[in-house]
């Protein structure tokens, strides 16, 4: 079966992971368009900057706790 390129979020997440900021990615998930200390703040900041529908998640340095292992 043909391989599909994964969505690499690692370099996008890292600059914001120390503060655990919420990040608003563009729809293609290859660019951070806004951040916020809360989910709501990230949504509001993204709306101010772009008409694009953002994809929200929280930046964390190490997700192993949330995915049960590595």
């Amino acid at each position: 079966m043909k391989k599909i390129k994964e969505i690499d979020l690692t370099d996008l997440i890292r600059p914001y992971a120390k503060e655990n900021l919420w990040i608003a990615l563009n729809t293609a998930q290859d660019k951070v368009i806004a951040t916020g200390k809360t989910l709501k703040e990230a949504i509001d900041n993204a709306k101010k900057i772009s008409n694009e529908k953002p994809v929200l998640m929280q930046a964390v340095q190490d997700y192993s706790t949330f995915i049960l292992g590595y």
């Binding site: 949504i43 709306k47 529908k53 964390v60 949330f66 292992g69 590595y70």
Partner: protein
């Protein structure tokens, strides 16, 4: 619908930094998407209460529900029926929103989600496939 896996920073139990490949799925709401981890090990879908508040829900007006977590920890939550889109499909899921569930993304569990969709994982090829059941 084929969806690429996502790569996120993680670590081994020995503390070595690695990159993990996980099945994140963006759930579409009116103005934004929320990334969720497809978690077939979870009975129900769970989200931090803040996700529901951003959707305009009054969390504590939902149906009270106690989830059992790892180590048998009780996680109080409130269930709401939430409409959203996955690509062209509009579905309504029962989601448990909790103030004690501080996750960086939502979790899509078996109830409802796995009734609506069949999911085939092709991890080696870097994608998973979602089809209506």
């Amino acid at each position: 619908m084929r969806v690429p896996y996502s790569l996120i920073p993680s670590s081994t139990p020995m503390g070595k930094e690695i990159i993990s490949k996980v099945p994140l799925l963006k759930l579409g709401f009116k103005d934004y998407y929320i990334n969720c981890l497809i978690d077939s090990g979870a009975a129900v879908s769970v989200m931090p209460a803040g996700f529901g508040e951003a959707l305009g829900l009054e969390i504590k007006k939902g149906e009270p529900f106690i989830m059992k977590g790892i180590d048998n920890i009780n996680i109080p939550s409130y269930i709401h029926g939430v409409n959203f889109f996955i690509n062209k499909y509009k579905i309504k899921l029962k989601i448990a929103f909790s103030y004690s569930f501080n996750f960086p993304f939502g979790l899509l569990g078996r109830e409802d989600f796995f009734d609506f969709f069949n999911v085939d994982f092709h991890q080696k090829e870097g994608f998973y496939e979602i089809k209506p059941s």
